[in-house]
């Protein structure tokens, strides 16, 4: 019978209602994801620069590769910093790690004739040790990681400074270029496959791998648990100490990865390399929807945040804004991106 409560039209109407409600529920679920706000902000920023600076080079291939490279540098650090942030901790020492690792690679090669692959391996080993130490201290003393890693920030930078000047009587190590031919490890850390610098490839790879780990493995669940409530996590058997220490080792390692890529690319390094990189990594993670308080966030969000930061930093260049106003404009745009992100997330949470 076509009419009535159980008729075809009524049930068709019910089916359509349920279908729409299901769609809305899915949409709401999508909007609550940490990344949506970031992606929206990314689109907004892109449109802004495309309109105001598109003809001045922002939309060209070189222009795009340019901000992708800058985004990659933030992104390689931001993805690991995001994991650590979800677990409730900070690593302020990665910037100094970049400087230290750069010197650990450059000095043995240019001054003592080491093969580059050996210096690179030693640099990674050093960073894993430092990461372990950072993590161990945080777990053992239960002091805020902010303080512990602030101390290692100064220690590492100071040691880099002192040892470099003692060994080289100079603050720069240069001339790497002539030692790189035929070295086995150099190829995976340098070059530009398909015209995109290797840093972009590493950034994409790390995003995929770490993102997968976060959402598809029990280790990833542990990270969320540790960040949400470490004591409760411990009570249900999550190895909190091991998770935290391994994450500090990861952030230190990504710092060394970036240092390696930069030293091989520029052929030189100086004692100031990497300064303030930790702040930009944290900013990228936060813009991407990771909460400073931990327990919530995503790797993909951090990557989008890194891309936004890189796009804004380089995009301003193509506009006609006078350099005197750069920092103010950068700060304003970042604030706008974060507020938009926040607003969208609140809207989504409210509508549930």
């Amino acid at each position: 019978m076509p009419g009535g409560e159980n008729g075809v039209f009524a049930s068709a109407g019910r089916f359509r209602r349920n279908f729409l409600e299901g769609r809305m529920a899915n949409l709401r679920k999508l909007m609550v994801r940490p990344e949506l706000g970031a992606v929206t902000a990314l689109i907004a920023v892109f449109i802004y620069f495309a309109v105001t600076a598109g003809s001045q080079g922002f939309l060209t291939t070189e222009g795009t590769i340019n901000y992708l490279e800058v985004g990659a540098e933030h992104g390689i650090l931001a993805v690991s910093v995001a994991l650590l942030m979800i677990a409730g901790e900070f690593d302020l020492s990665i910037g100094s790690m970049i400087g230290a690792a750069g010197m650990i690679i450059a000095i043995p090669v240019t001054k003592f004739g080491w093969p580059p692959w050996l210096a690179i391996l030693v640099a990674f080993a050093f960073s894993l040790a430092v990461g372990y130490l950072n993590g161990w201290l945080v777990v053992k003393t239960r002091l805020p990681s902010f303080i512990i890693t602030l101390a290692s920030l100064y220690l590492l930078r100071g040691l880099t400074f002192g040892l470099t000047i003692a060994l080289l009587n100079y603050t720069r190590a240069s001339g790497m270029g002539s030692y790189l031919n035929g070295d086995p490890l150099v190829t995976i850390f340098s070059g530009a496959p398909l015209g995109l610098k290797i840093s972009i490839w590493w950034w994409a790879g790390l995003t995929l791998v770490l993102g997968w780990i976060l959402f598809n493995t029990s280790y990833g669940n542990w990270i969320f648990a540790v960040g949400g409530d470490a004591q409760a996590a411990r009570n249900v058997g999550v190895p909190v100490a091991r998770v935290k220490i391994s994450l500090f080792m990861l952030t230190a390692a990504t710092g060394t990865l970036l240092a390696t890529i930069q030293v091989l690319d520029t052929g030189s390094t100086d004692v100031l390399r990497g300064e303030l990189a930790e702040l930009e990594a944290i900013a990228s993670a936060v813009i991407g929807g990771n909460l400073l308080t931990g327990g919530y966030g995503s790797v993909f969000g951090a990557t989008v945040g890194a891309l936004i930061l890189g796009m804004v930093q380089q995009g301003i260049f193509y506009t006609n804004i006078d350099t005197n106003w750069f920092k103010a404009v950068l700060g304003a745009m970042l604030l706008a991106a974060v507020l938009l992100n926040n607003y969208l997330r609140q809207q989504a949470l409210r509508s549930q």
């Binding site: 070189e62 603050t171 001339g175 030189s268 300064e275 260049f317 350099t323």
Partner: protein, 312 residues
Amino acid sequence: MKTKLITALAVLGSLLLPIAGFAQKKPHIIVVTHGQVSDSFWLVVKNGVDQAAKDSGAQVDYRSPEKFDMVAMSQLIDAAVASKPDGLVVSIPDADALSKAIQAAVKAGIPVISMNSGSDVSKKLGCLMHVGQEEYVAGKGAGERMKAEGVTKAVCLNQEVGNAGLDARAKGFKDGLGGDVEVLAVSMDFTQTRNAFAGYLQKNPDVQAILALGPTGAEPALQALEQAGKAGKVKFGTFDLSPTVLQALSKGEMDFAIDQQQFLQGYLPVIFLANYVKYGLLIATDSVPTGPGFVTQQNAKQVIELSKQGIR
């Protein structure tokens, strides 16, 4: 209706005329340096750039990284190349880190002039010329000047470690003096530098002479000297000018300041490129020396007023 349409078209047409005038090629020149405008030295350079933009009618953009960062600077040069300017002006404090980006600019057909630092690599990288002061030569001049006054032991303050230009100054000073020179690495932070140098003074009360490599190092050192009661009693020279340095010179608390006339380092490259882009004119030289000029107690007062305006 018809008159309205015609009026509208006329108004629109007249609005387009200035745009047509714009489209008549204002040379677009980009200046990328390693110096932040927060540094009083580079503010003078930027003033030179702005003045040259006014005088030549070119559209000039000044870009620099937020701090001394060679990776960021090479990315800024890449961005400059991507925006296809008519000319590029760069400083080259680290030839290794910047050579790829600069050579890419030259390969893209953009005329490049180097300034301030990198005089030794300028031609090799494909730049048309270098406008600046030969750092090593200037340092040597300072060293020889102090040697002539009987100095045998000196300390040199470096505020921007990693900058090849400053390191060349220090090396020149050491060779020119021929004596014992200790290089003290300080920072761009006033208090840190003053305290670091005050500590040095305490440990080395017999210091004969001081050479600062810039006002960022000289001014805190001056304060440390005043607090230790040693101002005017040790030979004290510096590179580059600032109002404080000039006051100290006129008071006799400093002996000399080496003026590299950085206003010209911002001004001349833009003028040269603008004329090259517009008319194909280029002066036939590889190097335009803007220094060293020595400012002493005798001519300090004249220079003081100009320094306050950010011209010297």
